[in-house]
Amino acid sequence: MSRTDLQHVELEFGSDGIAWLWLDVADAGANTLSTPVIAELEEALGRVEEERPRGLVIGSRKPGFIAGADVREFGRLESVDEAATLIRRGQDLMDRIAALPAPTVARIQGHCLGGGLELALACRYRVADNDPGTRLGLPEVKLGIHPGFGGSARLPMIVWAPSALDLMLSGRTLDGRAARRMGVVDQAVSPWQVDETARRILLADPGPRRVRGWRRLANSGTGRALLRPIMERQLRGKVRREHYPAPYALLDLWARHGGEPLPRRLRAERESLVRLVEGRTANNLIRVFLLQDRLKTEARDTREAIPEHVHVVGAGTMGGDIAAWLALNGKRVTLVDPSGEAIAATLRRARELFQRRLKTPARVTAALDRLIPDPAGRGAARADLVIEAIIEDVDAKRSLYADLEARLPAHAVIATNTSSLPLEQLAEGLTDPGRLIGLHFFNPVAKMPLVEVVAGRASDAAALDRGQALVAGIDKLPLRVRSAPGFLVNRILMPYMLKAARLHAEGEVREKIDRAARRFGMPMGPLELADSVGLDVCVAAAETMAEAQGLEIPERFRQYVQEGRLGRKSGRGFYEYRKGKPRRSRVRADSAELDRLGETLVEPLLAEAERCRDDGIVADGDLVDAGAIFGTGFAPFTGGPLHYLAERGQSRVGENHGSDSQGDASGSESTASTSPASPDRDRTAG
């Protein structure tokens, strides 16, 4: 018997007395716990309470279980009261599930994150499958918040505290087998066994998992008192409390209330979360999440066919790693390079990557089979898209394009990975210049999520759409940029690195410079960054941009390059390198000084970001922020350079000035948004 008047939830009562509650949120690719969904779950639970089945299975009809709460809804919250109400409602729902007299089991396949895992924790049992795509976790800290639907209270009861806290503080995800080992799920079975296992566990009803024996001491007053400083020290090594308060709040929450009865812990969880939601970091991290979502969903809007066969020319570090990433993500790749050794070295790096990500030998072999060495370049005849990653030389590239043009199918796009040559120059000589676009990847390819999709003046809309669709299809974030020196990311990074080099030449200690930048929130100091990119590459890039941006390259930079101090690759740059790591000396510096230095260092980046927005390098200011965060790692907790400026209430260029420093709408409509968290475009979940 099935109830069909609910839109997002399906409820079936089987003849064996087992009820099945299937979540299937309408018009969405994934289940999220938005208010309407929570409302329907409440209603469905009401019916379950009436019918009194022998047991209840909660599952999903979508490829994933539940992806979490609705982040967009969270971002749209206008007041503290609204936030508190939403959190309370979620907690009550979970309590109600936990209070059902019949046993409950969460049947988990695919992603089970955040609120989704909290719902599963409220069930008496959890059954997952062992497919590598099944991931369980509580990643709320990555949004600047922590679990708020009872997860922080329930998880330490099921799994002993250090593991529970590690999972929540890191925000990492577990696959089915790891979840079973930790105790988060009761069984991890083959996907075709999940239903039967759920049924059987309900019928057997062996009793809920609880932390037993000496491990319970971790939750005692003494345990918490001993563990807390250890965990806090670990946290301090990774993130600053001022920038990322959420993990510290979570630790405080457990340390203070961990021994109390459940209702009190739930209240404490709620109050802690509300405090975080009020703060800037949470808003900014939610903004970052929504920016990421924007980049992904924009790519899906195209009607162009997604390229499946990609022909990669050039098996150097970039070309080879791009080819490997493409094969990892299901594309068929032919890789051409005059050097057989370069191709073989690519295969070796690819195999390491595949073994880390894909684990099983069958998947690794399948991925390697998709990465086809093609010394004779025959793959061009079948390619949907070509990525060219050869030397940065206009003539070499042009002659390659001419050769390719003769062999490529009519619909194939030519994409160049160039970081410094203008597309207009490269397109000269092509019969169809419209088919040339830029797809600018960042190093290392496996770690950097952003890819600049560069539109030359002649680039076809269809070609750009296809390039963008490819990037989204390989789990990267495509950012449309206009072709101009440095595009977006290198352009905003260059003044930042040059400023640092200048300060260094003027006598500032290099370790202090880098430390100040990291203290500000940059992932890497500017001098270390320059070293890792390569000082020669920096100088060359700077020269390309010099005229347009009025950059001055410090003499010291050129000197180093002349002396052969090229950075990490040559063993010496601003720092000396041993085994790829820089040798840094300790420096004494007081916090205020470092803060000031940090602001000074970042200032040119902020100014350049504004100029990029004004020059229309990307469609709007939000995308400048997205590019900075995903392409350079710019402190995500700030929400991006332009957002940071707006919140700070200042602007470098032109007439836009913020009214105050609390992050309200500033004068410029493209920088700010109507609410602190959600950027311009308002989209529904999914």
């Binding site: 068929r332 032919t334 057989g340 050794e341 191709i343 073989a344 070295a345 295969l347 070796r348 690819a350 195999r351 072999t365 399948a366 390697l368 089979d369 086809i372 060495p373 093609d374 010394p375 004779a376 025959r378 793959g379 079948r382």
Partner: protein, 442 residues
């Protein structure tokens, strides 16, 4: 999506069977340890390069057949594994064949039969072998000891059975050596060559000179780009190979004379230097019917005209080519002089020379081949013109396919009409294939 079924009507005109194209990996010799690529990997590598060159899509292939004499335990039906990994699709059937050294040619022959019989229009066939990866096995006595130990029912029994262990049980069995010995006659392949050398009076000098020529010809072929069917392979351990690595450019009769006989000591004549090398490699060929050639606009390299398999005394297996080629040519009213170029697999210099001697020998031709007189000579300048198993190596399951493919290229290059590829097969058989160059037909 259902594949278009090839026409099975018997009433249609008998189709020609075309060798469209082929590719092989460089042949890599055994250097005392397993090489980086498995037999399946090698087959996939050769297949990929071949299919990349074709205008037809991968799923147009109707059937995949591969020969392999010693697949690894996880390579059951290696042709199917290769087919799936190449992307031929779930619906394309695939099967593996084994006729010892003739397996590669057997696969091509089965492709030929499939097309002639109307069961397929486009067949991917070939051979693959990774002899360097032949396993070291536990001696049977050790396996029995382990089984006994596992099945012990009490502690006392376990201790007693454990005490029955003897260190000599650990001596590994070299599978490769076992594979190269014929269990029925009890002779190793090398011993059969020695026997032939004795019967036909082939001297050590003759063998070493032949071996040197083989290396010289391969070196020359590499220098003159006469091996267009070879495509480089790249392994995920970071190594790449572009050329067959068995060639010894410094080969000389003086050097070879220093080697000791390997199969019959102390006065035998067959050495490691005048025998085929132990080698890994794969070859992939695409066969097509008239209809497939037309439908996909395929180029054609050669027409496969006929094939023949013959049996003979295992102790003289080296004469297999003579026993297979003779009836096949006679069927077409041809003789040795009708053939422009020959590929006769060099298992041993002695064996190749013995075949030539047999055809020259009136008694042998009368007694064994049903001929009235000696059948004739093969011009050494037209035999194995670009080297052979001695310099290239002889991956057992692959050579049969390699020689057909290379012969087709030789006919093209020399604008010649007809060629015979033939080989001897351990256990006492011979295989032969007759191919024609359509471009040289007058």
């Amino acid at each position: 999506m259902a594949r278009a079924q090839p026409s099975r009507s018997r009433s249609r005109k008998a189709t020609d069977v075309w060798l469209v194209d082929g590719s092989r990996t460089p042949f890599l010799k055994f250097r005392g340890r397993p090489n980086a690529l498995s037999a399946a990997d090698l087959g996939v590598a050769a297949g990929r390069q071949l299919l990349l060159r074709q205008p037809c899509p991968v799923d147009a292939i109707d059937e995949v057949i591969f020969g392999c004499a010693g697949p690894a335990p996880e390579e059951a039906n290696i042709a199917r594994i290769i087919a799936l990994r190449l992307g031929c699709g779930h619906e394309t059937p695939a099967w593996s064949v084994q006729r010892n050294c003739g397996s590669g040619m057997q696969a091509v022959d089965n492709g030929l039969q499939s097309i002639r019989g109307g069961r397929a229009d486009l067949v991917l066939c070939g051979g693959t072998e990774a002899m360097s990866r032949a396993p070291l096995m536990f001696d049977e006595s050790f396996v029995r000891w382990l089984a006994d130990l596992q099945q012990a029912k009490s502690l006392g029994q376990r201790l007693r059975r454990a005490a029955a262990f003897r260190p000599r049980m650990l001596k590994p069995v070299v599978a490769l050596l076992r594979g190269l010995t014929d269990p029925v006659s009890g002779m190793s392949m090398g011993q059969t060559a020695e026997k032939l050398a004795t019967n036909f009076g082939i001297t050590r000098q003759d063998m070493d000179e032949y071996a040197v020529r083989s290396h010289q010809r391969l070196a020359h072929a590499q220098d003159e780009a006469r091996l267009p069917e070879v495509d480089p392979v790249h392994a995920s351990d970071g190594n790449a190979w572009a050329d067959d690595d068995g060639v010894r450019r410094d080969s000389s009769v003086e050097n070879l004379a220093r080697l000791k006989p390997v199969f019959e000591k102390p006065y035998g004549r067959v050495t490691a230097g005048n025998s085929a090398q132990v080698t890994d490699g794969a070859a992939a060929l695409l066969l097509a019917s008239d209809r497939a050639v037309e439908e996909h606009g395929l180029p054609v390299l050669a027409r496969i005209r006929d094939s023949e398999w013959a049996g003979l005394d295992p102790a003289q297996m080296g004469l297999g080519p003579v026993h297979a080629t003779t009836p096949m040519l006679r069927r077409h009213r041809m003789n040795l002089g009708s053939i422009d170029y020959w590929e006769l697999n060099e298992a041993f210099a002695a064996q190749v020379l013995a075949c030539l001697a047999a055809w020259r020998d009136r008694d042998y031709c009368r007694d064994h081949l049903g001929l009235g007189k000696a059948w004739g000579e093969i011009d050494p300048q037209r035999l194995n013109v670009d080297g052979g198993g001695i310099s290239l190596g002889h991956p057992v399951g692959t050579s049969g396919a390699r020689i057909v493919l290379h012969l087709a290229h030789v006919l093209r290059r020399e604008n010649a009409r007809r060629g015979v590829a033939t080989l001897c097969i351990g256990g006492g058989q011979g295989g032969a294939m007759l191919i024609e160059n359509p471009e040289a037909e007058s």
